[in-house]
């Protein structure tokens, strides 16, 4: 087969059984790959709402993209799809690293894990040899130790994906790590693995990947590579990493600090990509498989009592969630917290989110020392932050147990209106570090995101207009360059809709979303041509974008089976009700009124019902999702047209 390897590997941990299926030819046209085909598989196996995240019938699917393992630049990413632990809804999380390409070289496009193992286990894949092995020696080990043991047993060239103690302890902030420091972090997929007694998947492969028209493929890959080489966004990502943008975001008064109470921090320099470079912390610039950008960092503390402590990152989000958020404006403080999260297998965004909420709750007297394991929590207190992270990963004491279930459950337990400063929305995920009060397309994208409020289902970075390429894109989408400002509410639904589809096909092919929605060298036109050269499947650009819309709609439908309605498409209480503290949009909120208008426009573009937010039968049928419409109809989940 060309492009894809054409195989889905199933492993049933309950029965100790493995089997391989061919990817149906039709799926390659309707869903392309990775995130798209994952959504279809999850729908087929788990649409019954009785299948909760912890039900043995829940499945977890890992999939590199349709062109992963080739020279298509930055196409080495992997989507992980399951019923999420944090929200109980649809969860897709995506990771970089080198594991996904290795799975493809082993001959598989998708790995579907069913059931629950009777004891801690890991899956070993070496081409056609697939085994479920005892993970007794791995259980309890951190990410670094786990990777080292797997490489000792299965070779330095093997690639690992694993959970740390946090995932074993079913912590909602846990993250699935891949190639050590890359992570499918959001939504608690690691807790799903923990529940399945699945510690790791080690892969080694020797099967080449072939494309239909190598010459044409190489030409289009070169076009993408040269676009990215010249793209100012991509250059900045290589030079300073994702954290290179922090100073600029702060200048826009849009860098959330102290649990979203501020958007501007004096002297933000110590927690920026520039500081990593200039103060001697940056050890190496690192790339995911096949990535010509190389935005990842490997940082080390060069001197002092913590000399030699090193890890991957920190990224923008980590400097936000574990730096500005808890008030730690200190490079080494964030490096230590980041290293601890990477070691214990925690998502830095959620870990930081719950820690900030705990600090504010303590400050308000809602939590006392009795609840905080005796810690005197406060803004900028590094040892207390580290102790909180450790408690979280191991569910240590009252504090650890409280935070480990995430803020949706914690606020219910604590009461006292503590939901008002818990930066989660109705779906229940802790928001990533984007100040949506002054970024109106992001606000809409976060509200409708099926997994909760974050930037990694649909990034609308272009709305900031911070590069010439971004401004051009906004002009293309809205008809005028002037709308390239995140402060406008006009045309935000149009901007989100285009990005949803573009983002989905980007992931389906295996590309990093930075290539198409932060830098702009990869786009629907060249992705469509590349897919044809890779597979021989010819489509128009519109047909390709429609596959994105089909998958977004299928993901939406999945959430509808779990009772999601328009009320779930909202933003955190604080952001909807408290004004931004400073900056050009001082006093602005993501008010219900503003959100309602954006949602109406967005649902209208999707041809979804405004009252329920649900797709009509005709909408689903137009997308080739008649079986989905029939299922929803059977359960009274179709709106009246």
């Amino acid at each position: 087969m060309y492009g894809h390897q054409g195989k889905i590997l199933h492993v049933d941990l309950s029965k100790g059984k493995t089997w391989v299926e061919d990817i149906p030819e039709e799926w390659r046209r309707l869903y392309i790959g990775s995130r798209g085909i994952n959504a279809k598989i999850l729908w087929d196996y788990c649409k019954d709402p009785d299948i909760t995240w912890e039900d043995p019938r829940n499945i977890i699917i890992f999939a590199p993209g349709a062109v992963t393992g080739t020279t298509a630049p930055a196409s080495g990413r992997t989507s992980v799809t399951t019923v999420g632990c944090t929200t109980g809804l649809y969860l897709k999380s995506n990771t970089g690293g080198h594991w996904g390409a290795e799975l493809k070289y082993a001959g598989y496009d998708h790995l579907v894990v069913h059931g629950v193992a009777s004891e801690p286990s890991y899956i070993l894949i070496e081409d056609d040899n697939v085994e479920v092995r005892s993970a007794k020696e791995l259980w309890g080990k951190d990410i670094i130790e786990t990777d080292a043991l797997l490489k000792k047993w299965h070779g330095e060239d093997s690639r690992g994906l694993y959970i740390g103690p946090a995932g074993e302890n079913l912590v909602r902030a846990s993250s699935i790590h891949c190639s050590l420091f890359h992570a499918a972090g959001r939504g608690g997929g690691a807790a799903v693995m923990g529940k399945k007694n699945l510690k790791a998947v080690s892969v080694r492969g020797t099967k080449p990947i072939r494309v239909k028209d190598p010459k044409k493929f190489a030409e289009i890959a070169e076009e993408m590579r040269e676009n990215l080489r010249g793209d100012s966004g991509a250059q900045g990502l290589h030079e300073f990493g994702t954290a290179g943008s922090i100073a600029a975001v702060n200048e826009m008064h849009a860098f959330p600090g102290r649990n979203w109470q501020t958007g501007y921090t004096e002297n933000v320099y110590p927690i920026s990509g520039q500081a990593l470079n200039e103060l001697g912390y940056l050890k190496r610039r690192v790339a995911c498989f096949g990535c010509t950008i190389g935005c990842h960092r490997y940082s080390e503390i060069p001197k002092g009592p913590n000399q030699g402590i090193a890890s991957g990152g920190p990224e923008y989000e980590t400097f936000g969630a574990l730096g500005n958020g808890p008030g730690v404006i200190d490079t080494e403080g964030v490096l230590l917290a980041n290293e601890m999260c990477n070691r214990l297998g925690l998502d830095t965004i959620t870990a930081g989110g719950v820690a900030q909420w705990a600090i504010e709750s303590y400050e308000r007297g809602v939590l006392t020392k009795e609840d905080t394991n005796g810690l005197d929590l406060g803004w900028g207190k590094i040892p207390e932050l580290l102790a909180t992270i450790e408690a979280l990963a191991y569910r240590k004491g009252k504090l650890g147990d409280l935070l480990a279930d995430g803020l949706k459950i914690a606020t219910g337990k604590v009461g006292h209106d503590s939901y008002k400063w818990a930066v989660i929305n109705a779906k229940g995920l802790e928001q990533s570090n984007v100040e949506t009060r002054s970024a109106k397309a992001y606000a809409l994208a976060f509200a409708v995101n099926p997994r909760g409020p974050d930037h990694l289902m649909t990034e609308t970075f272009a709305e900031f207009g911070s590069s010439p390429e971004a401004v051009d894109l906004i002009e293309k989408l809205t008809g005028d360059k002037k709308w390239a400002s995140s402060h406008f509410t006009d045309f935000r639904a149009e901007i989100v809709r285009w990005h949803e589809d573009c983002y989905e096909i980007t992931e389906a092919l295996g590309f990093c979303v930075f290539t198409s929605t932060a830098a702009f060298g990869v786009n629907p036109d060249n992705m469509t041509r590349l897919y044809a050269a890779a597979t021989g499947i010819e489509m128009t650009e519109d047909e390709m974008m429609l596959t994105g819309r089909r998958v977004c709609t299928l993901e939406k439908a999945f959430n509808i089976t779990r009772g999601a309605t328009r009320e779930h498409d909202n933003l955190p209480w604080r952001l909807m009700n408290e004004g931004a503290k400073s900056g050009p949009l001082k006093g602005a909120t993501n008010s219900q009124e503003e959100l309602n208008e954006a949602l109406d426009n967005y649902y209208t573009l999707h041809e979804w019902d405004l009252k329920t937010s649900w797709p009509y039968r005709s909408t689903l049928e137009k997308l080739g999702l008649k079986d989905v419409a029939d299922h929803l109809d059977k359960h009274d989940l179709l709106p009246v047209e």
């Binding site: 020279t71 050590l180 020797t206 080449p208 990947i209 190496r284 790339a287 010509t292």
Partner: protein, 163 residues
């Protein structure tokens, strides 16, 4: 103007574009195991070391071959395998002081970089500039050797650590 390949470990992000590009141009497919240039990746310290034929002046591979299957072009330093003579003993793999030789996964014959006849395909793919195709000069020859020593020192350190 004669050219040479500069291979800088410090700029390598470990992405493997070079290896994939090599397997594409040589065999019309993508397979890191068929790249004439290889990236030795140490994930725990985020390191990538490029290993590739250096067209060196001592060429111990040629003398090591019990089959007499290897020959060297005097002008370019490029090594050629006579596949009719090669019986895949692997002596060249062990003999190479730059750890640059691997056996092809199917034919089991050793693979050598031939600089694509003077236009190395991998270089175009290396956006971070870890591979550069530069005009040959005394200064560049010195640079090439310096960069090579750094890579080989790191390689030895890693092997020592592993042992």
């Amino acid at each position: 103007m004669e050219k040479l390949l500069l291979v800088d470990m410090d700029k390598c992000t470990g992405c493997k574009q070079c290896t994939l590009a090599c397997s594409l141009t040589k065999e019309d497919l993508f397979d890191p195991k068929r790249g004439r240039i290889k990236i030795l990746k140490k994930e725990d310290i985020a390191l990538g070391i490029q290993l590739v034929c250096e067209q060196c002046e001592t060429y111990p591979c040629v003398a090591s071959c019990p089959d007499g299957a290897l020959s060297r072009d005097e002008a370019t330093g490029i090594i050629t395998v006579d596949e009719k003579l090669c019986t895949s003993q692997g002596a060249c793999v062990d003999a190479c002081i730059y750890h640059a030789i691997q056996l092809h996964p199917e034919t089991k014959h050793p693979m050598f970089c031939d600089l694509c006849g003077g236009e190395p395909y991998c270089v175009k793919h290396c956006v971070p500039g870890a591979l550069l195709w530069v005009d040959k000069s005394d200064e560049m020859i010195k640079d090439k050797k310096k960069l090579r020593s750094a890579r080989m020192n790191m390689y030895r350190d890693l092997k020592k650590e592993a042992a």
